[in-house]
Symmetry: C2
């Protein structure tokens, strides 16, 4: 089994190093191969997603991804900026199903900006479609405004779109995920304004007939943003498009106050996937040895569970993370009085020890 390791930029290399330590400690015959991506890809090969990196990702059984982005690359033209790497990987690998859990560990309830009673025990799974929508829709670009009061002026434009099969496959993923949980699925759309999402709603409803054991409801995206703040525990599984999912999954992650704890998975049709922490590359703290490696370590656990069919090993890692939290170990981002502040490496070592 081959795992592609793409550390990326900022804190990426530090946190990935801890996850690699954990993977190596499992005693499994995994082959890990590392390649540069994002700013590091650009620095070494002139492109955020170098050909060799993409080839490695394609050849591997799964990809463990750190984070990309760094101030140094902010002024490059868009096609060369670090985030193009992650967009390219999603598209080229067909990673259409993004799983973003927002889970609040009981030990970290204070970290949230929300009142404990509102978020204690929070456990939402957001499923975001990841290869369609306005992220990739054509045509897009700059043109002369074709009509109306601004006719003839420069205009930027993009195309939002979802084809039937695209909606169907993410719907099936979402209903099946809901079946394994509390059997409640909220589909988030903007059917009252957008043709794309009226169609989305229609197809979700249709696919829902195949899953009579799951309760489906539909919610407008603006209301969903409100309800996430008002009563997030009412949600079980949410499914939505690429653009709305980008916004809502970050909002939901922040509800926990501990985004340094949240892993994510992006899967193709055969459960091959890319796994990455939900947080970013945090260039401001890169190299200081203080970043929280737990989201990346938990992403490695998801990788084992979803792509390598090693649920037992994944459970071991999840348990080890719970154990270090119970021991009171905290990186700076989740530190509070009465716990012990540790650095990135010390946290990684503690997880290995707890395995």
């Amino acid at each position: 089994m081959k795992i592609a390791i793409l550390p990326g930029d900022g804190i990426g290399p530090e946190i990935i190093a801890q996850a690699v330590k954990v993977l190596n400690a499992l005693g499994e015959p995994f082959e890990l191969e590392t390649a540069p991506v994002g700013g590091a890809g650009y620095a070494q090969h002139g492109h955020p997603l170098p050909e060799a990196t993409l080839a490695l990702a394609k050849a591997a059984d799964a990809v463990l991804f750190g984070a990309v982005g760094d101030y140094r690359y902010d002024n490059l033209e868009r096609a060369l900026r670090p985030e193009q790497a992650i967009l390219g990987l999603r598209k080229h690998l067909g990673l259409f199903a993004n799983f973003r859990p927002a889970v609040l560990y009981p030990e970290l309830a204070n970290a949230s900006t929300l009142k404990p009673e509102v978020v204690a025990g929070l456990d939402i799974l957001i499923i975001r479609e990841l290869t369609g929508d306005i992220y990739f829709g054509q045509p897009r670009g700059m043109r002369s405004c074709p009509d109306g009061p601004f006719q003839g002026q420069r205009e930027g434009y993009d195309t939002m779109r979802y084809a039937e099969g695209e909606i169907r496959r993410i719907a099936h993923v979402a209903f099946q995920a809901a079946q394994k949980r509390d059997k409640r699925l909220t589909s988030v759309d903007k059917a009252n304004v957008l043709e794309t999402f009226q169609f989305w709603r229609d197809i979700m409803t249709e696919v829902g007939k195949d899953y009579p054991d799951v309760t489906l409801d539909h919610m407008y995206v603006d209301n969903a943003a409100m309800q996430l703040v008002r009563a997030p525990k009412k949600f079980d599984v949410m499914v939505t498009g690429n653009m709305f999912g980008d916004i809502l999954s970050d909002c939901a992650a922040q509800l926990t106050g501990s985004i340094g704890m949240l892993p994510s998975a992006s899967l193709d049709a055969n459960n091959k996937g890319l796994y990455e922490p939900s947080h970013g590359s945090a260039p401001d703290i890169a190299g200081k040895g203080i970043a929280n490696p737990l989201a990346t370590i938990l992403s490695a656990a998801m990788l084992l569970r979803f792509s390598l069919n090693r649920a037992e090993q994944a459970d071991r890692i999840d348990a080890a993370v719970k154990a270090v939290l119970a021991q009171g170990l905290r990186t700076a981002d989740i530190y509070e009085a009465g716990t012990r502040r540790v650095g990135t490496e010390e946290m990684g070592d503690a997880v290995v020890k707890a395995l």
Copy 2:
């Protein structure tokens, strides 16, 4: 001076009645004229925005709007559903600048689901562009998917777009609003993915040169959703497009926990405007006499300030609302132990008395 009064559906008529009482109590020679809109428009004239209603809105100096939407009209085809009324009014009246304040009254700090220290004193102004973006962009509809793995399937699609002049005018509105406040403006976009919003960012930066006293920063919409939950008080004025503004302004409103208190204004190029509470028509509590009329009353104050140039009268209303809160009067939505629960009418009467 003529004010068009459009009560709409659900709690609309009840809350509008209180605002009308307040307007009448000012002793100004305003002419108020009422017309049906939304479901009420459909019920009486077969269309959510009847011609006579639109004509009245156009002829008036300002529009006071209740809320639209009711279960009864949920299954109508989209063009006849109540929310088309508000979209139509925005478009036909050219109301491109939507002001949505998210203000937390000190007396209501407990109503928020966020910790008091995170939201106490919250005072954000979100400025949302309201007549462009993917809400109105053409082409849109259903088509056969033109390429890719889903070629030939049914596909829903929409067009996101912003022309230069459209971005410029909302930019000027936002910078000028920031000048009157803390001189900090956050422009929210998704320039890393969307052509439309790369252009948006470029033009915002350009217009910013005319306002050297205002500090402009740019933030991606996903990050903005996180920062609203993490540290909302860091924001002063935010400006964004129609779609992102729909989501973020509802999220920001919910941070206060008292959306029944939040007014909004939608202005054209000459400060003519439509004023409405930020909350919806709440058909579940319609007719029970328990809805909070304060957001509508505060919307009437905004109407006086922005469109009728009656800042003094607006100040009087704002002060009267503060006074009834200080007296401990609360409708059910903001009630807590130790305060006095009152109904819609009693609250309206109390504001009139406090004037």
